[in-house]
Structures are given as C-alpha cells and as structure tokens.
C-alpha cells in the first residue's frame, strides 16, 4: 500500500505492506536511529514520536502513520547543531554503547514538550520503558534534567 506521512517535517509518499511495523518502515526509509532492540515493546530502543507522543515503533502498524507526523532522531539537529537533549547526552556522559540513546532522546522530547520542568522522579518514570543494557541510567537522567533547564532558559 502507498500513503503519505510527514517524516521529520517533510511530507513523504511511502510504500509499506499492510502488516508492516512502523519500525521496519522507518529503517527501510533510512532512519537507522530507530533501533530494533527486542521487536516486542519492552526495550524502547525504537521509540519515535507519532504526532508528538513517544511510542514503540515496533508495536505500531506503519499504516497507522498515514496522514500523521512521525519524528525520529534524524530530524533533531538543525544545520549541524545538535538538539539540547542530544548535546547534554554527549556532554554529560549519558552515551555508553549508544544503542538505547535515540529512544531515550525521543522519549525525553515527549516528556519535555508536556512538562518543561520535570522532577528527577518524573524523568525516571518517563524512562520506564527505555532499557539501557549498559545500565547507565544515572547519566541520562542527569542529561535530561540539564537539557530541560537549558531549554527553559532558551525559551525565556
């Protein structure tokens, strides 16, 4: 089947089988930040934004995105400048092997869009569906809190 979606701000006409997951479609389209960690909704490595909300792309049918907005990590940097959440993840040592990082960043964007001033507890709750098998959970939380503070300053 053929349908349109808005991928990282650009309208695209794409082809997918009716049973395809959004994860498989996005990876075929070149969005390799969408990681296939478990293909079963546990790990969160494939998290993307669907109409602004973070979802496991492996658990959503690709065709569900027809006519909707999908955002992946590929769309975050602007003219080579990283998004504050990406920058903070790098600067504060939140990236170990990096496999879980895109999913964590996308989940953080969903949180910060709804809650610009999250507590540490709220960040931890938001990340409940994002596994890091390097078990580096402390640094990502610190990075998201730092990025939130920076984004608030930039907004003022």
């Amino acid at each position: 089947m053929t349908f349109d979606l808005v991928l990282n701000g650009v309208r695209r006409t794409v082809q997918a089988a009716p049973g395809d997951s959004l994860m498989d479609l996005l990876r075929r389209l070149g969005c390799k930040s969408v990681k296939n960690g478990c293909d079963d909704g546990y790990c969160g490595a494939c998290a993307v934004l669907l109409d602004g909300r973070a979802v496991n792309a492996c658990l959503v049918f690709a065709a569900r995105a027809a006519g909707h907005r999908v955002d992946t990590l590929e769309g975050l940097s602007r003219e080579g400048v990283l998004h504050p959440v990406q920058r903070a993840a790098l600067d504060l040592g939140a990236v170990q092997c990096g496999f879980c990082t895109p999913g964590i960043v996308m989940t953080a964007l969903d949180l910060l869009a709804r809650n610009p001033r999250p507590t540490e507890h709220e960040v931890r709750e938001a990340l409940a569906g994002n596994y890091c098998r390097c078990t580096g959970y402390v640094k990502p939380v610190e990075a998201i809190l730092a990025a939130a503070a920076e984004m608030r300053e930039a907004a003022e």
Binding site: P18, D40, G41, N56, C58, A63
Partner: protein, 281 residues
C-alpha cells in the same frame, strides 16, 4: 514486529462501517500494540479504529471515555487523575511503560481481555461499556466478560464510570515480581458508606488468579450492612481467598495466589478505609 499474511489495512470513519468490515478474516485494531506481537491465523485484514471519532474523555457527572482513548489520555486527564483519590492514575502508572500507554487504547485493552490491572479496578468502580454490534447498547463491564462478549466482534465505543460521592472510596493493589511485569495477582475494592458509617455497598474484584479479574460477590456481601472494622475486613479477605478460581501457572502457584489474595484484599480495604477517614478530618 511486522505481521505477515496481511493483505489489507482499512481505516473506516464510522462505527457502522468498521463493524461491517469485521468477519472471520479480519480483526479490529485499537492501538495495535498487542495485535502486532502475535501471528493471527487466517486473518488477512486489519480494521484500524484510529480514524473513528472515539478518542475523547469527558468529565460529566461521572466519566465518559471513548473507546480509542489511550491509556496515557486517561492517566493525564486531570479530572480522572483526581477521581477517587487518584486510584485510576495510581493503577495506570503501573501498566506497561509510558511508550506503551501512549499507543495502547482502553477499548483494545478491554477487548483483549487478558493480563490486566485495569479490568479489576474498573469492575470495582462499576464501569459500564457501550458496545456496537449492529445496534448500540450499554451494559456493565462485569456482564461484558460474563457473556464472553470480548470474544465477539462487538466494538467498544465508550467506557462509563459512575460518579462517586465523598462517602465512597476505592483502592487498587497488585503483586509483581518486578515492576514492569504482569501481576502475580491484583485486587481492587470500592466501598460506599451510609449516613451512619455502615457499609452500604461494597465491590471486591480480584484478577490474575491467573484468570481475568472478576468480582468476588461473597467477599463484598460480607462487608455490607456493618461497620468497616478490622474483623469484617479480615473476614472479607478470607472469603475472597477461598472464593477466587486460583490456579497454578508459571508465575505463581494457586496456594500462593490465595495467600496473596488474603493479604491484598485486606490491604486494599484498609487503604479504602483510610481514605474515607481522611475525608472526615
């Protein structure tokens, strides 16, 4: 996980149209988060309900929740989050992960009818469902499962929660091995007191026995007509432990589940009583 063998993905715009598309070779899709994880023998058509105008949550005298509202829509609704001391939000925070709750729909969850913390709580809160199977009708959630309608093609268009006054309190709790897991057992209670502080109506529901949550009538009836004191709470919990259809499975033994049930129902009733007492101060 992409599904193979699917040849059509349809997005009807009305309930009538959606229901008309359901047959032996098709399956209705709410969020799709469970359907996409399992092969469906003989199914070739997915009927996506996402385009139906059912993603709403209205706070009227009680709550009217559209069938395709996501679990996150419910968790983030301020009125529902405050309902009955936040018991619905408290339960939902332990269901899946935020990523899953952002996609999973309440109608899809209820129609799936297995592995649920949501079902026992909604049973305790006396939820109703509005179904469409050619005509629209409303029935209790308890009757929906009693009649096995979750195995039918009936589509859930709305979930209703009745209003609750200051003399009503509820509580939910579950036992799990780790936080992000299905419960070994879960239970929910709702208690309404009369003007003299006696229990006018009680509802006790226990789930993951490992069967889907169900009301335990004997445990509820034993509470009615008397004070919500320690002795009557203990007696109700004992009755619940004896009455549930406990079975062994890979998660827990039947014996352990009865022990959990005794403790769980007692704690839930204590918690509900604490909430009622908190309001009088």
């Amino acid at each position: 996980m992409s599904l193979t063998g699917i040849t059509a993905y349809l997005q009807p715009g009305t309930l009538e149209e959606a229901y008309g598309l359901l047959d032996d070779r098709s399956i209705a899709v709410g969020g799709g988060t469970d359907i996409i994880r399992h092969p469906h023998i003989g199914v070739t058509t997915l009927v996506d309900l996402g385009a139906l105008p059912l993603r709403y949550l209205r706070h009227e005298s009680g709550f009217a929740i559209g069938g395709t509202a996501t679990l996150s829509d419910m968790l983030e609704h301020p009125g529902l989050a405050a309902h009955l001391d936040g018991v619905v939000a408290e339960m939902l925070r332990g269901v899946g992960s935020p990523l899953l709750r952002n996609a999973a729909t309440i109608g899809g969850h209820l129609a799936r009818g297995r592995y649920s913390d949501i079902v026992p709580l909604l049973l305790a809160l006396d939820a109703t469902l509005t179904l469409f199977d050619g005509t629209e009708r409303t029935l209790s959630l308890a009757d929906y499962y009693r009649a096995g309608l979750h195995r039918s093609r009936a589509l859930i268009s709305e979930i209703g929660l009745p209003p609750a006054g200051p003399d009503t309190a509820a509580a939910f709790l579950k036992f799990t091995r780790v936080a992000f897991d299905y419960a070994l057992l879960n239970c929910a209670v709702q208690v309404r007191l009369d003007g003299r502080g006696m229990v006018e109506e009680a509802r006790v529901a226990v789930g993951e026995t490992p069967a889907l949550g169900a009301l335990v009538e004997a445990a509820a009836q034993s509470l009615e007509g008397g004070p919500l004191d320690d002795g009557r709470i203990d007696a109700s919990a004992e009755l619940a432990a004896a009455a549930i259809p406990a079975q062994d499975d890979q998660r827990a033994s039947a014996e352990y589940r009865r022990a959990l049930c005794r403790v769980g129902v007692r704690r839930a009733l204590f918690r509900a009583r604490g909430r009622l007492e908190g309001r009088r101060q």
